[in-house]
Symmetry: D2
Subunit: 357 residues, 4 copies
Amino acid sequence: MAGNSIGQYFKVTTFGESHGPAIGGIIDGVPPGLSLNAQDIQFDLNRRRPGTSRYTSPRSEPDIVEILSGVFNEKTTGTSIGLIIKNIDQRSQDYEEIKNLYRPGHADYTYEKKYGLRDYRGGGRSSARETAIRVAAGAIAKKYLYKINKINIRAYLKQIGHIHCDFKDWIYVNNNPFFCPNPEQITELDLFIRNLKKLGNSVGAKVTIIAENLPIGLGEPVFDRLDADLAHALMSINAVKGIEIGDGFSAITKLGSEYRDEITSQGFQSNHSGGILGGISTGQPIIMHIAIKPTSSIKIPGKTVTNHNQETQIITTGRHDPCIGIRIIPIAEAMVAIILMDHILRFRAQCGDRKII
Amino acid sequence: MAGNSIGQYFKVTTFGESHGPAIGGIIDGVPPGLSLNAQDIQFDLNRRRPGTSRYTSPRSEPDIVEILSGVFNEKTTGTSIGLIIKNIDQRSQDYEEIKNLYRPGHADYTYEKKYGLRDYRGGGRSSARETAIRVAAGAIAKKYLYKINKINIRAYLKQIGHIHCDFKDWIYVNNNPFFCPNPEQITELDLFIRNLKKLGNSVGAKVTIIAENLPIGLGEPVFDRLDADLAHALMSINAVKGIEIGDGFSAITKLGSEYRDEITSQGFQSNHSGGILGGISTGQPIIMHIAIKPTSSIKIPGKTVTNHNQETQIITTGRHDPCIGIRIIPIAEAMVAIILMDHILRFRAQCGDRKII
Amino acid sequence: MAGNSIGQYFKVTTFGESHGPAIGGIIDGVPPGLSLNAQDIQFDLNRRRPGTSRYTSPRSEPDIVEILSGVFNEKTTGTSIGLIIKNIDQRSQDYEEIKNLYRPGHADYTYEKKYGLRDYRGGGRSSARETAIRVAAGAIAKKYLYKINKINIRAYLKQIGHIHCDFKDWIYVNNNPFFCPNPEQITELDLFIRNLKKLGNSVGAKVTIIAENLPIGLGEPVFDRLDADLAHALMSINAVKGIEIGDGFSAITKLGSEYRDEITSQGFQSNHSGGILGGISTGQPIIMHIAIKPTSSIKIPGKTVTNHNQETQIITTGRHDPCIGIRIIPIAEAMVAIILMDHILRFRAQCGDRKII
Amino acid sequence: MAGNSIGQYFKVTTFGESHGPAIGGIIDGVPPGLSLNAQDIQFDLNRRRPGTSRYTSPRSEPDIVEILSGVFNEKTTGTSIGLIIKNIDQRSQDYEEIKNLYRPGHADYTYEKKYGLRDYRGGGRSSARETAIRVAAGAIAKKYLYKINKINIRAYLKQIGHIHCDFKDWIYVNNNPFFCPNPEQITELDLFIRNLKKLGNSVGAKVTIIAENLPIGLGEPVFDRLDADLAHALMSINAVKGIEIGDGFSAITKLGSEYRDEITSQGFQSNHSGGILGGISTGQPIIMHIAIKPTSSIKIPGKTVTNHNQETQIITTGRHDPCIGIRIIPIAEAMVAIILMDHILRFRAQCGDRKII
């Protein structure tokens, strides 16, 4: 299949470039009868959108979503939901100068080689602008998941450069522009990012995503395992370069006797596996970590070539985030929500005669 | 879709349980005219199969593959290829005692809760036995990939417990039972694994996979990115709990000025991105690392419950690997080959009028 | 998969209801580098849109399409193409009275039973209004197909009620509101339809679609045969109840000696098979016929029930076509174009190393 | 996707050639807990297999199916079901002489042009032998469909050449080698077919398929409508050239006032629509008719060319059916069962929270 869709039963298909007239998507497979209006979606869009703090890109996009179909009298009808978000604050002239050269770390080179031409304005389709529709689709999934089983999907900033954020409580996460779960670390983060901006540099980050109140049984052996589908969805986010489920890479040095999650009549005694066994949810929280590379667009000159392979230098002057990892938090939640929603529907398809979920 | 298929244009569908009469698969989408016979596939199957060294499970399976269709006069015909491998050395009686209880760290619990019943013999469908067919499918993909562009996919043991294997040369990898790329570390590995076996314990591992000689342009934005599809495929392997592309988690602490891969007229000056930008191959080697959890079946008693939630203890007496990570090497290569093959065909579908690949 | 997509490599996904703010779609898999602007699409949209003659529904929709993405400097970029058409002339008040009852022959009953609720305004998603986006997608496919091989897809009115249209020449088809290939029959058709309107009744029709200049080799055995995919696409059009390829139902009474298409060094001597053998195109014209039921919405009172199963009568007062068959002509062409486009890409995927198409 | 799969939630993938060692398939998505053994499948296989009467091909294949996975203690486990049927009575030497020429009406020409080579033995993959696995998959679907709602899918011979079979009762259908629903017509059919064989000729046929006891609500607007999916499945059967749902082509001459199915408190008053409105099942019987072309392999000499375009003649000497339409009856039932099964699972996926089916 062409690559702009994700999910099989709950299917999200998107379109749109950074500097085109609009971005949008079609959400297919939403069960009928869900209460839904644009406000339900706007909350997460606002968490993602740029221009809301000094720590993110100053591009000012209101990101107002319109629901064009699939909802009647504020209830989903079971038909495909069309969504659109108009682009407002394009500054395409910022990009004229990169028209003929490849920004290091960006998709300019690969898009042009693959397709033979590219929309160079703001990275075109490769821009993270496209993720706004993912967040909108995720918001619909989140609403449904919460309705049926109080399934809850939340993420927070776990690390930025060498600063580890110590988890205190979820209540702090949405109350600071870093999505940091510890209010005492805000000052340190503020200093760090401001200094990065001053240096015109950027840094990587780590984000933790946790899904709770899941039913047992989500995930289809052997290829469409829940962990495999989550890995696919998370790795499809721009700038993500690593994924862990549960203990992840720290499992390498663990012994079987430490790692396996023993079971008593009270349930599992630990959750090293991160809530998934054999590709199927155990009912425990699903715990995921992702590694995000530093933003490639920085003010420090870098070597590159033109599309005629002439050597040159580049200094990014467009509007960018010093740490794209911060803004990935609502996107990561959305991607997890999309996959869990898909698997709820898949569970019902095959095991629906038992009428569990 | 039901979950036993992977790939969309090069599609692999499998069946089979650990202790059933046979496992098998259907490989769909192989281009016509490829020279192919069972020996081409057997080489990788032999690398994966158990019972070949003291470091792996003693289950003795010859793993002889039969090609049932899709090949005529030793050439692929373009029709679906049916493969079958008979199970020979089942010892189902070993599993009678786990019939009513859940082995910690295994899929027993999740399969039974999801499906309402389970084939408990050797883990049934959740057994790594199923991966033999993946290796067979991967061998076909590897042969085609090598034919068209000398594309080469190789993996080696990067770490086991606290022992890091220092890469010396590929020539060593297939000459020792650990797939270790350094002949001087074999003794240390031998001692370590023998000791683990003596203790009845197991340990995690890390495997590195590298694909070389790739064309530029593989990967479909925005969801079916090459990295996302690779993450899906690798995470679908039993026991894999983490995935990195390029620098992976070490990108968290890197600055943009260090990380972005600068370009000169000679090409990229580094490969922190691991050969993928914007989800599309750059033509550089694709570098992946995976984390593998310790085998859950160990001889040390562990707490568990029966399917009536009665507490009990379990000691695994079946035949198992002290470090499943060792045997994952040919499987990981196969999964990468399947995805690359799929994307070669996808590239041709959309960009085929340019007749590049 | 959810049901609002068609095609696998060239994939069309649509949204929108008859009386919502807009209808739209996403076209995924278009090869890069195709010259495209909105005018290329508008021609076929104008052939489909209502309100253009006294023989079709008077709903007045300009059906102006906007391209929101996937095209840069009037060339396709290889990314997904977002299309939108605003609804202008909704008269939802016409539908208040059918809110609680089921129009015979319409999808009111089945949508409400399936989904538990329905958008009753103009039939909601079940309205033929949705087909405007199919026509838009088909126009893109047609342009590409013509570019690569002068592939040409045309349809005409073959029969309406008892009036058979005798094929004279393609040049007449687009010059009359019936898409009739014979200018001498226009008066008869005009009288017939006007009389039907006077009676408040409707009638069925037969449409012929012919695709020419096809390469040999389109179609994937054994399930995604070209004829099977065409049957799927044509039967997915509202009101289509029968499909024939080549001789179709007249093959029942033919002998093998009459039917098989003999071959000489000049090629096939006949085309009873309609251009497809074993599910694969022969290079001859593909000939299809479809049967279209009479419009269900008529002015003659009909028995029906309310959603509380109370018996009542219905007289349709909305704006409708006396013969929906007439308007299906551009839609049928579009569906055939979508399938052929998909199969061109599929051919390239599997057989692309031979670089034929 | 590659073309050897059908269904999305209940997915059937097949492999195998007419003269290879075996044919087989993988059935994915079967709900767990269904009682199943090989005998359940064998009944329909026996209805399809050749060599059982003088009216069909004398090739003698016992068509014994083996279940290789997915069933444990005679219950389905929810994992993929592997099926295999060994080929026994190949006579490949019969085909040596057609190695270099194209049989008119067969897929020899299109396979060779598409793939650049072909397995000429018995038509290879294009042979109807492949349909045995469809019948096996359909038998599993039928068993499940009957279990959940007594859904019943049956077909009969409606017409052969100019002989119309008048429906008397279903009980007669399986009691004669023609699947004729009227015992008084057997003599006429016997004479007709015997005469055809004597002449070395063949003839077309029409088959009627009826599905009963369906729930309301199967079918996914707008592309995966139930009628569209049925059309796809039926047209994917070798030799099928036409499809009708309900009144089919006779709707062309009907008026809206005759055709629309009026509703009273007792339900629908007629079934011109064939049990499907807006692509969704109404709960009435689904009625389908298919047209089958005459067998192309006949003893009367026919013109053809070699693969070097040399003109020649062909007389088929292999073992063939004088009317392939007869043997299509169990295959058509199977294809309908596969689609209905798929849509039951799809209904549950999207509407499963209402726990209706």
